[in-house]
């Protein structure tokens, strides 16, 4: 059972444009929602994360929007650059205790064209 659904599967954006990736979750116990960026041949790297007590978090060109009632969150990449081309994963977890684990979405392959 896929607890975190991610879309689109792939995305092509022109340089300078806005990239938007969406995720939806089912488990209302989730209280931590990170986004990971993965370049080919590398491990996933934490990009930005949000907790459900805020509706938006911005770090540089990257913004997470969070809608608790809809159980959805999204990543916006402003002024997208070719160097942003990578696979992006949303994830969710319940942070309490030692049994917490990240549940990942299926990934979005982003290509930013120059």
């Amino acid at each position: 059972q896929q607890q975190v659904k991610q879309s689109p599967q792939s995305l092509i954006v022109q340089k300078g444009g806005i990239s938007i990736i969406n995720c939806a979750y089912e488990n209302t116990a989730f209280d931590y929602f990170p986004w990971y960026q993965q370049f080919p041949g590398k491990g996933p790297a934490l990009l930005i994360a949000i907790r459900p007590d805020v509706s938006e978090k911005k770090e540089g060109r990257f913004t997470i929007s969070f809608n608790k009632s809809a159980k959805q969150f999204s990543l916006h990449i402003m002024d997208s650059q070719p160097g942003d081309s990578a696979t992006y994963f949303c994830a969710a977890s319940n942070r309490g205790g030692a049994t917490n684990k990240l549940i990942f979405g299926t990934g979005t392959l982003l290509a930013v064209q120059p």
């Binding site: 931590y32 990170p34 990971y36 993965q38 041949g41 590398k42 491990g43 996933p44 790297a45 934490l46 994360a49 696979t87 994963f89 977890s93 942070r95 309490g96 205790g97 030692a98 049994t99 917490n100 684990k101 990240l102 549940i103 990942f104 299926t106 990934g107």
Partner: protein, 112 residues
């Protein structure tokens, strides 16, 4: 300074062989994980260890046996390798109660 390091980076082996992947972290974290990334890039947790104690075992075949000699190391031994075991295996670590996980570079396992 490498935070989470895995060896080897690539592993090609024949069906039926036994192989091990090693992982070390120098972040001072007390929880370590193994994740598997399949050919469609889907990432799924396999195991987690907290202070050398197995915490999560996600219905992984018992051919996979993790071992944590101390909280900075987590190894993965795989017996009787099968074609379907081909994947990229990632080690990760975090502070207990904080799933801000840091991942290693991955080990690409190819079973032929």
């Amino acid at each position: 300074d490498t935070a989470v390091s895995q060896t080897p980076k690539y592993l090609v082996t024949q069906m039926g062989n036994d192989k091990s992947i090693k992982c070390e972290q120098n972040l001072g974290h007390d929880t370590m994980y193994w994740y598997k990334q399949d050919s469609k890039k889907f990432l799924k947790i396999m195991f987690s260890y907290n202070n050398k104690e197995l915490i999560i075992n996600e219905t992984v075949p018992n051919r996979f046996s993790p071992k944590s000699p101390d909280k900075a190391h987590l190894n993965l031994h795989i017996n009787s390798l099968e074609l379907g075991d081909s994947a990229v295996y990632f080690c990760a670590s975090s502070i207990t109660g904080n799933t801000e996980a840091f991942f290693g570079q991955g080990t690409r396992l190819t079973v032929v």
